[in-house]
């Protein structure tokens, strides 16, 4: 009789643990379903794909994007003062075209005088860079004339005539034929 009792209690305890396990399983799957519903992995994939395809299609390298951004900032900040850190430049897809969308927070507009000054500054820096390039190699202006080989001697179309290819004609501007023009 006692043995039987034991069997029954064992069975009951087994049953209880089974019920608990089933309940907890159902609860956990419900929680999981709720989780997957709140987190929609498809739209994540779609958005990421759209973005990556836009960059693929635009054929711009990240470095080029960055450079474009810097140059845009320079131009815009001549006219308005902008928040450089909050600037956001990205590619977006309209139905069949790609749009470059920039979100540029403007802190304040510049006064007329500032605008003028910045324009002058910009012009100055351009001028300086030109000067710098010209001052680096002062005497090596490219000879504008096209050289021709006539009877085994090279002739360029400049005022001088180059009789001997090795020595050059002695004019100042140098060309491929080696002539140098002197005034």
């Amino acid at each position: 009789m006692k043995l039987l009792d034991r069997k029954i209690t064992d069975k009951i305890s087994d049953m209880v643990s089974d019920i608990v396990a089933t309940c907890s399983r159902i609860l956990s799957t419900e929680a999981k379903v709720a989780e997957t519903n709140s987190y929609d992995s498809k739209s994540d994939a779609k958005n990421r794909l759209k973005l990556v395809l836009m960059h693929d299609r635009s054929q711009l390298t990240p470095a080029q994007m960055e450079q474009m951004k810097e140059e845009l900032i320079d131009v815009i900040s001549r006219y308005v003062e902008i928040d450089r850190d909050a600037l956001d430049l990205c590619l977006e897809a309209e139905t069949n075209t790609i749009a470059l969308v920039a979100n540029i927070p403007v802190l304040r507009t510049r006064s007329e005088q500032e605008k003028l000054q910045n324009q002058i500054d910009a012009a100055m820096t351009e001028g300086q860079s030109q000067e710098a390039s010209s001052s680096a190699e002062p005497q090596t202006e490219e000879c504008q004339y096209v050289c021709e080989v006539v009877d085994e001697t090279i002739q360029c179309g400049c005022e001088c005539e180059n009789e001997q290819a090795d020595e050059g004609c002695g004019c100042d501007s140098s060309c491929d034929c080696g002539c140098q023009k002197t005034e």
């Binding site: 997957t36 498809k42 739209s43 794909l49 990556v52 395809l53 299609r57 069949n96």
Partner: protein, 271 residues
């Protein structure tokens, strides 16, 4: 006779190019067309395995190009369908054994005798791919609803757009799982076609029978009543010009209760 040369390509590997070639080819032949399938994946051929013809190959594409055999000698006839043939790729050479110009000539020669020349392209966008598209007038792009496969398909579409000879290209979306689409955990058919902005030729649901069919060396269209087999048969009919609607996998199928409701509503309407 001048047949249609259709290249089947994907960019990414493992999305089902070869399976699709075998099944679309077989399905077209079952509908009465004369079809030749051309494996251009030189060095990594597999189309013969899926067709169960691996023991019958004597000459390959490369043998023909090297002048070791005539074109008709290199064609392997299908076990069941007499109007279906396979031209296998060489397994021992690499992709540089063939040039785009040669491929063009082979396709032109084949389309004289067949209604359809299906070219199974290798993965990637290098020489092998360029060879595969060289002689084609149409393209079928295979992709799956995975990000990497869709991205690669976009790249392929870009390359195909740049090729003037290809006048028509359509998408086959492979291995979709309707349940995952319904629970918003998989890119849907319309998501993929929107992103790629391309016309859809067909949708193949994920089907375990594909593995069985590959094991047997028997295309799935030869098996009775399978999801993927039916989808491939429909694709073949669309290629032949029939107007067959593509099933919508985005809305869940009607439940038992819905069906009873509909039945009641229908009878009520009649009454």
């Amino acid at each position: 006779m001048s047949g249609r040369v259709i290249v089947i390509t994907s960019g990414k590997g493992g999305v089902g190019k070869t399976t699709s070639t075998a099944n679309i080819g077989t399905a077209l032949a079952k509908h009465g067309a004369k079809v030749v399938m051309l494996d251009t994946d030189i060095g990594l051929r597999n189309l013969d395995l899926l067709m169960g013809l691996e023991n019958r190959i004597v000459y390959t594409l490369v043998d023909y190009l090297e002048g070791k055999c005539k074109l008709h000698q290199a064609l392997v006839k299908d076990k069941k369908i007499p109007t279906l043939a396979l031209l296998a790729a060489a397994q021992t050479c690499d992709k540089t054994a063939v040039t785009a110009e040669q491929m063009k000539d082979v396709c032109n020669a084949l389309k004289e005798d067949f209604d359809f020349v299906l070219v199974d392209s290798p993965a990637g966008i290098e020489q092998g791919f360029q060879n595969a598209i060289a002689g084609a007038n149409e393209a079928i792009i295979i992709t799956t609803p995975e990000m990497s496969a869709v991205r690669d398909a976009d790249r392929i579409i870009g390359l195909l757009e740049a090729k003037e000879e290809i006048i028509n290209y359509k998408l086959v979306l492979n291995r979709i799982r309707p349940k995952m689409i319904q629970s918003n955990d998989m890119l849907s058919v319309s998501d993929v076609t929107d992103i790629l902005s391309i016309k859809l030729l067909g949708v193949i649901p994920e089907d375990e029978n594909i593995i069985v069919s590959t094991n047997k060396g028997e295309p799935i269209v030869n098996m009775e009543n399978t999801k993927a087999g039916n989808a491939y048969m429909n694709i073949a009919r669309r290629i032949l010009g029939d107007d067959i609607p593509i099933p919508d996998f985005e809305t869940p199928p009607p439940t038992f209760v819905d069906r009873i409701k509909n039945l009641f509503l229908a009878t009520a309407a009649k009454a």
